[in-house]
Subunit: 354 residues, 2 copies
DNA sequence: TCCGAAAATGGAAACGTTTCCATTTTCATT
DNA sequence: AATGAAAATGGAAACGTTTCCATTTTCGGA
């Protein structure tokens, strides 16, 4: 079933010339007589010849391939990153090899190793923990151009990322302005994402600076499918909280559902703010207040940075630090109901059926 | 900056042995004395040697790489397909090279060509039009194992797909049972997706069989960002329609928003049914009625089919044709309001502000 | 100590390219 | 027709592997 594809040697033979000549003609470089050119081209066409990138890559020690590692495609943020990076790579004649790490540092490092073995010319990566990444060490050892996405710059690797701390601080400011005092920070797999951690830290610091209570860390262990139940438990156990900042929009949306299931009105009984700005947030009622980021710009930028280094050009600067995010108001964020502002232990409002 | 990675020759030299011996030791096959083994292993470790897949692939004419072409990652259905295919490929020691065709047959065929040039061992593909795909011709010519996803089987290529016609017929049945007579079929880029076309045809046939009016084809030209405006125009121009079947959930969701923007209540004034079963459909109010599919199963199945052929095993059968989809009821589908059932040209209900 | 078999070893070819360089051909001048 | 420069050509090496096969080493037993 598997056919041996014709090689340039076959073409040369059929055209009755040397492989060097065939190569020159087919690549359009170097001299060749009109007669030979025609013979070679005809032979190639008849054989249906296509270059094998393998031989080429081996010869040139260049693969025109970029590796890309992201945690998951289920998160539209990364789907967008990948798509944009891919488009940009293609534009420059590069292909993209994708690997998903599933938020697992072990898989992440294995993926990077494999990509390196495949001799990718460059890498675009979102790692679990930028400070301590075996994968990144490998990359450095090989000296392969690499840009980080949604991680902050570190150890000389350029980064296309959101200023997580500033964004989180902004959210704290919004909460404060509306009169919230007790908030929670909702995170999934906290330990496996330094993005999450940075957002929490920025949020906590700002809360302190604004005279709010220390935010409660609501951490959820990944239990596929159980999400809603876990959220309900968490919400029920923390009834004094009037606002929740979720480390991403998916969680925020899930929290909205869970809260509604418990009969808590949004935003009167509970305000929710997300992070990312995915499209779904605009489809729900009320709209999700969130930190809007631009994943496509990040993916494209990271690709451009890597490609520029490969082309020997000076890479573009990272994103303008002042504009990596914007805050989007939405119906999910409002002032807390008066009775909640006392910070009483248990809310007194009867849970109305929605 | 770019470092020349150590080759097996370097290892052999440092271990003072031949490359053949080094290769045997490093691969763990073939005989080797304990002494030599140690020397080679030590040399490799000191040098930080890793095999280059390039030389290997050239030698074995096998890349342990699968190519994957989907229209877009922005649609979570395909993101899931890719993710599942990737996971399955990895499990078997294969990598995945991704390409997005952006629903463009031209890009699609180019992507396939590039993948073939890269000597992928197999392909997992969703094409724009299964009947007429230059890319698929290339694949056949090369004899590379290939499975289709979300396309129907064709010309000997196995497929992991939904029975679009049956699913569409089911939707027609649901509409009919509720008393709908005038419906519309909403599609984006109709000409670029045979999935869309099959859904429409199945829907139209079933409508006819059920004594309903021929569904109006509501086609939208891709105008990034204008979607909502276009939908509003379409809805305003077709006020006798009581139900819309959208060719995918994204469109359905957008239609819901547009309808609401026009003051039309869902489902009283307009019922909407989607296709795919993406998570967002469960987050909106009312929930989106839709045809639920299992993209992960499709991606995984397609990968398994290809991998089995590569391993010389007999590939799994495709999905059970009777279970490729299920219908999910949702608040977006209900009986039409009585006054609409007359099929009058203009609805008489005043557009209330939502 | 020597023999033969088994184990270990390394040279060389092959995989499909490109490119260097030496050789051959062409062609315009004389 | 002879000359020389320019153009065209093809052999061979190199890229990093694996594998075949011939050669060398080891080792148990006589």
């Amino acid at each position: 079933m598997k056919i041996r594809p014709p090689t340039i040697k076959d073409v040369a033979e059929r055209a009755a010339c040397g492989v060097a000549t065939a190569s020159r003609v087919l690549n359009g470089r170097g001299p060749a007589s009109e007669k030979t050119r025609r013979k070679v081209l005809a032979a190639a066409a008849e054989l249906g010849f296509e270059f094998s990138d393998l031989g080429r890559s081996l010869q040139s020690s260049t693969t025109r391939t970029l590796g890309c590692v992201v945690p998951s495609l289920a998160n539209p943020v990364f789907a967008d990153v990948v798509q944009a990076a891919q488009a940009e790579a293609n534009r420059a004649g590069y292909q993209l090899i994708l690997a998903c790490s599933d938020y697992d540092p072990e898989l992440e490092s294995r993926a990077i190793r494999t990509l390196l073995a495949k001799q990718v010319d460059g890498l675009i990566v979102t790692v679990s923990n930028v400070e301590d990444s075996e994968g990144l060490e490998q990359v450095r050892a090989r000296g392969v151009p690499c840009a980080l996405v949604y991680n902050r710059a570190c150890r000389g690797f350029p980064a296309w990322s959101v200023d997580n701390r500033a964004a989180a601080a902004r959210v704290a400011g919004e909460f404060a302005a509306l009169g919230h005092r007790h908030t929670g920070f909702l995170a999934l797999e906290f330990g496996r994402s330094d993005r999450s951690r940075e957002r929490f830290e920025g949020f906590a610091e700002a809360c302190a600076a604004l005279g709010m209570a220390q935010p409660v860390l609501l951490e959820i262990a990944e239990q596929e499918g159980q999400l809603l139940e876990l959220l309900r438990a968490l919400l029920s156990a923390n009834r004094d909280i009037t606002g929740i900042f979720a480390s991403n929009d998916y969680l925020a949306l899930a929290a909205m559902q869970a809260a509604r299931g418990l009969g808590r009105r949004i935003p009167q009984d509970l305000s929710i703010v997300g992070f990312d700005g995915i499209a779904t947030g605009l489809m729900v009622e009320p709209n999700l207040a969130t930190v809007v980021t631009d994943p496509r710009a990040m993916g494209e930028g990271a690709a451009r940075t890597v490609l520029a280094r490969l082309a020997g050009e000076t890479p573009p600067a990272g994103p303008d630090p002042a504009r990596t995010f914007s805050f989007r108001r939405g119906g999910s964020l409002g002032p807390p109901a008066p009775e909640s502002m006392d910070g009483g232990e248990a809310a007194t409002s009867p849970p109305p059926r929605q």
